[in-house]
Each structure stands twice: as C-alpha cells, then as structure tokens.
Amino acid sequence: MAALKSRTRRYRVSKRLAPYLFLAPFALLFIAFLIAPMVYAFTLAIYKTTVVGGTRFVGAENFVRALSDPKFWQGVTVLLQFALIQIPGMVAVALLIALILDSGTVYAKSFFRVSLFLPYAVPAVIATLIWGYLYGPAFGPFTQLANLLGLPPPNFLTPGMMLPSIANIANWEYTGYQMIIYYAALQAIPADLEEAASMDGASSLIYALKVKLPLIVPMVVVTIIFSIIGSLQLFSEPYLLHNLSPTVINNAYTPNYYAYTLAFTNQQYNYSAAVSFVLGGVTAVISYAFMLIVNRGGRT
C-alpha cells in the first residue's frame, strides 16, 4: 500500500515536471541567447557613458532621442523602399519555380531544386563580395563586356541603382530558399485534389492557379512577413558595398548599419542599444500592420 502510494506520487511529480524538462533545451538556449542579451542591451540603453562625466542613469532619454533621430528614420525609409523593390519579385519568381517543379513536367527535378537553393548556403558576406566584384564600375566584368562591345558601361552603384543592385543580391541569395518552402507546401497538398480537378476537366494551369495557389497562400503570407523582418535587418550588403560606393551608402544607410557605427566606431554603446530596441519596435509594428491588411483583405 505504502509502496504503491509513493509510486503514484513519484508518477505525479514526474508528470508535472515532464513538460519543463522537455522545454528545457529550448528554454535555456532561448534565455541565454535571446532574453539575456536583450536584458543586457536594455540596461545599456537606459544609461549613458561619456568620456567626461562617466556613467549615469538617463531613463528614456536614449529612446526619445532615437525616435526623433532623422538618421534613424532615413534608414527605415530606405529599407521600406528596399522591401517594396525586393520582396514582390522574389516571391513571384520563387512561386513560379516552385509551381513548375511541383507540376512534374520537369526533368532532373532534384538537380534544379538543389542548384537553385545553393546560393542560400553562401554567406551574405561572400555573396556581396562576389556581386561587388561583378558590379565593379571600372574593371568589373559587365564594364569590360560593355567596353568590348563599345557600349556605355553600366553603373550599378549610382544613387538610383543602389537599392535595385542590393535587391538583386538579396534575390540571388533568398529566392531558392523561398522556393523550397513553397515547394514543400505544394508537396503537402493531397493528390486526390488533383484527381478531382482533372475529373472536372481542369488543365494543369487552371489546377495550379485555382487550387494549389490558394492552398499555400498562408505560407506565402508567413514568408512575406519573414522577408519584411529580414529587410529591416539589412546590414552585410550595404556594409560591404559602402567600400565600393561611399558617396551613396553612408554609415547610417540602414538602421542596423547606423547602430553598428554608433557602437563600434563612435563608441556610443548606450545610444546604439536604444536604436536597436526602437528598430525592433518599428519592425514589430510594420509586421503587425501587414498582417492586419492581409487579414482584412482575406475577409472581404
């Protein structure tokens, strides 16, 4: 009797503990690599350290300053333009390729899938260095080709061309990745739908547009939100292209580049932390606004 009781108690205790144990691997990493740095950054942001005067508590001063900093907002504006240029094209191309690969009309399917995905495995820094070389206005291959043909050499690094040029690098890096996500979603569509559609006499084009596409719209919305967040975090590409075109890209070109400069060149760590937090807030607001718009559109 006593033995049975203790066993049930042990069973109950372990039942209560089990979820936490299962959560622990994630929770510990989450706390160590996300929560703790954020708390640290927040404490940085509410203090101010100066060469003369030392460290003092300033409360919201850094945040207020960031909110009214034209350099910060200039960066946000540039990135919103960037998102508008980059995301639609990338999503459209990725969807198209995913639909083609899924339609079963392609030979060497896995070869195309892997080779289109491959650029995603190249680090952004390397990708930018490669494209930076290709864009080179004096001795880059495009310029050399144009010179050879006697055409005016293209310049990819002018104020007007810079965002499209960066968008091109981002597309090269991420289209394959988006495509894999869409492809996986398409593969999950039950085959009986296709049977039903063909019984009803739908061509494969009609089937793709009227059946498959609507079914993966939620997935597309999610990837667009991720892309918006990714766009607002843009750093490596402008940071590296700055060397090639300092007259177009200044060190506040994107908010993350601005935060980087503030911290590591200007040694204004506190203000830099505040700028990062405000950027996080702006990103949350924009992502939420996008979701609201999409949801409203879906309902009507």
């Binding site: 104020p159 300092p246 200007n266």
Partner: protein
C-alpha cells in the same frame, strides 16, 4: 571605466607631469603581479599577434628563431579601422584580445583611453628607448610608461608612375599649384587618366594627414574645455583646392581608394600617382602586373615654393594588451619586432616600411638601397628627408577613428551631391561639436 580612471586619462592628456605620477603609481602595483606570472625561460609560451602588413611571417620567424620557447600565432584582423573595431569589441567583451597588436600612432590615445594597453616600461621596454628616433618613441609613451614600440613611420611623398608621366611629358609637381596644373594637363591630354585619385571619400586619415601638412590644428584641449575649429581657413583653402580639381574632372573621384578597382587603376596607369606614406609601396607588389619597376618616389608637393613641410600618414607600433597572460614575453616580442637590427632592416627592404631606428636611418647602405619596384631608385633618401620635415606638433584626438570616419562621411556626402567640399567641413564642425558636447566636453570654437 570608472570616473577616476577617466579623470586620470584626461589629466594625462593635458599634463605630462601629472601623468608621470599617475603612471608611476600604477607601475609599482602592476609590476609585482606581473613578475609573478611571467613564465620561466624554459616554459613553452604561445602568443597571438594581429598585424595587417603583408608577409609579416618572415619577421615573426626571425623572432621564433631567437626565442625558441615562444611560439607566435599571426592573424590578420583587417587593415586599420577594421582591426580597431575588432579590438574595441574585444576590449568591451573583456576577452578575445591578441597579446600583441598593430596599432597606428594615431590610435594609441584611443586605446589608452579604453585602458586596454599594457605599460611595457615595467618589463624593460625602456632599455631600447635610445635606439628610436625621439618623436616616434614619444608618440607612443609617456615618461617611463611605454604603450607601443614604434615600428614604422609614414613620412609622406608622392609615389608616381614614371612611364605615364613621361609618356605625356609631365614633370613631377613640386608645389600644389604645379600639381593642379599637371592634373588638368594630364586629364586633358588623356581622358580617363588622372594624375591622382581623391582619397577623401574612403580614407579620412589621408585627408587629416594632408591637412596637417597645410598647417591645420583643429583642436585645443584644456581640461574638459575643447576648442574645435575643423572648418578654419586652412581647411577651407584645402577644400577649395580639391573642389576645383574635382570640378575640372582633373582628379578621379568615382573609384574609392583601397578597392580592387582602384588598385587595378594604379597598375593600369589610370591613376598616375598616389600621395601616401612610405609604406604605400608595400601594397603595390600585390597587385602590380604591369607597373613593377615603373614606380618612383618624390617629395610631397608644397604649398609654399622653396619650403619643405611634410606630413606623417599612418605609421604603426606594436602594442601589448593588458589582458595578456604573458606580459613579459609579449613585451619581448614587441621589442624584438621593433628594435632587432636584422628584423628592422627586413621590414624596410621587404615591406618598404620606413624605419624608426636611428641606426638604420643613418645607415648609408640602407638609405642607398635600390628597389626593383622603384626601377632601382634609392627611395629611402626621399623619405628620410620627408621624415625630417614632418611637423610633429600635430595632435591626434582620443576619438581619432570617429573623426576620420566623419571626415570621410561628410566629404563623401559632398561628392555625392550634398554641396561642396567646403560645405563638408562646415557640417563636420557641426557634427563633431555635437558629438564632443554629448561626450561631456565643453565645446567652443
């Protein structure tokens, strides 16, 4: 950093005597703990050194031959500002600093402000003091406290392509007025060929060095009172001079310096010269496919005919970081690389670094050494004269990286269409004043 440490630093900046006292007090305490932890001669010690000079391993090998119990790991963490960003991150993180690092003279004050440098004086660095040219030693030390072992200096000159200038019958300009004329003549005779490329969009240090040559003295620091006149008459004159050349399309501005395109341009002869420090030549063999042997060096153009005022661009030291576990061995490495006669000679003959040792500068054999890159010219003779005419009273700011960054930023903005170079200096004055006020200085003009 505590307030006391900061106050100590600021005083140190202003008053050498006070600094001597402060440094003396610190020395005793650190020396005791330092000696205890110094490894014995037999123990294997591993040191890490950061440097961005090419082929640095040759000199490191000389050290490990002389000190077989010390092994040295050489890492290249980027050139100049790139390396300093990594160093500052490591200082901030309290971990990840190398034992020894390449730090330019310009950045010694900044790293001292961060309390990151070991005083090598405690480990006998002053024994070699007298070997060094006085101003180089003084630039990296305060009294008996030694924060960097001078390595090379950057007396400026004009490195030019004799083949390109000869082809267009252009003489080497002796004054800035001649330089402007030649620039215009060359770009007229051969479109898309420039006498030089304007470095201001990508290299703030270059601008500051050339302004120093013109006599620019933009700061006066007195206690916490900072007088700042970045947009004074000298800066304006300099800005107007270069703006004129840019407007006439007589200097290159489209390709930023230090890029592959620019290096290729130097090799191709698109840019017929490079206004730089003696060390500039170290980079040329890395890209020179056609231009090897066609380079020559000449003195920096002058603002006043008949006078000789030069400037120093860059020039580095070996600094030891106070996080090192082997302060004695790290000091030995820094001292050896800076002062060992054979090593110092190799820096010059192999890497074109201009020596900072009295013996070497006075050595007729080294000074008349003929370099293949320069078509057999004994360029040391040019740079030794340049070194003698550097105005060493020019002071570096404790926020030198920030200043250089802003100079580059504002000049780039102007060239990108935001006003003239002269406007850039007005904006610079505004931005840097705001920054210094924010840092707690009382700023006035």
């Amino acid at each position: 950093m505590t307030n006391d440490m900061k106050r100590e630093f600021i005083q140190a900046m202003l008053n050498r005597r006070q600094l001597l006292q402060a440094a003396g007090a610190g020395t005793a305490a650190v020396a005791l703990s330092g000696l205890g932890s110094a490894a014995s001669a037999q123990e294997k010690v591993e040191l890490t050194i950061w440097a961005w000079t090419p082929n640095t391993q040759s000199e490191i090998d000389l050290f490990t031959k002389a000190f077989p119990n010390i092994s040295v790991k050489l890492e290249n963490a980027g050139q100049g500002p790139d390396e300093y960003v990594k160093l500052r991150n490591a200082v901030r993180a309290g971990t990840g600093l190398p034992d020894v690092g390449q730090v330019e003279f310009t950045n010694i004050p900044g790293f001292r402000q961060l309390q990151a440098l070991l005083d090598m004086g405690q480990y006998g660095a002053n024994d070699v003091k007298d070997k060094f040219i006085d101003w180089t030693w003084a630039s990296a030390s305060e009294g008996d406290a030694v924060y960097g072992i001078p390595w090379d200096s950057g007396p400026m000159g004009i490195l030019y392509r004799a083949d390109v200038l000869d082809a267009h019958k252009i003489a080497v300009p002796k004054t800035w007025a001649e330089f402007a004329e030649s620039s215009k003549a060359l770009s007229k005779a051969s479109p898309n060929t420039y006498l030089t490329n304007f470095g201001g969009t990508a290299d703030g240090g270059w601008v500051i060095a050339l302004l120093a040559q013109a006599g620019w003295k933009p700061f006066e620091l007195n206690g916490t009172d900072l007088k700042l006149h970045l947009n004074d008459a000298i800066a304006k004159k300099w800005a107007v001079y270069w703006q004129d050349l840019i407007d006439a399309n007589a200097v290159g501005v489209k390709t930023p310096v230090w890029t592959t395109d620019w290096f290729t341009g130097l090799d191709e002869g698109t840019y017929a010269s490079w206004l730089t420090g003696a060390w500039g030549a170290v980079f040329i063999p890395q890209f020179a496919k056609k231009s090897n042997g066609h380079w020559r060096a000449a003195p920096l153009p002058q603002w006043e005919e008949g006078k000789y005022v030069s400037a120093n661009l860059g020039g580095s030291t070996f600094a030891v970081f106070n996080t090192t576990k082997h302060p004695k061995e790290a000091t030995q490495l820094a001292v050896f690389l800076g002062s060992d006669p054979e090593t110092a000679r190799l820096w010059n003959t192999k890497q074109f670094l201009f020596p900072v040792l009295k013996d070497l500068v006075a050595d007729p054999e080294l000074m008349s050494h003929k370099y293949d890159l320069y078509g057999g010219q004994a360029v040391n003779e040019i740079f030794v004269e340049s070194a003698k005419h550097v105005d060493s009273s020019f002071q570096y700011a404790p926020f030198q990286d920030y200043l250089a960054g802003q100079v580059q930023q504002e000049l780039s903005a102007s060239i990108g269409g935001k006003g003239s170079l002269s406007d850039a200096f007005d904006r610079l004055q505004e931005v840097v004043s705001a920054y210094c006020s924010d840092q707690g200085y009382t700023v006035s003009q």
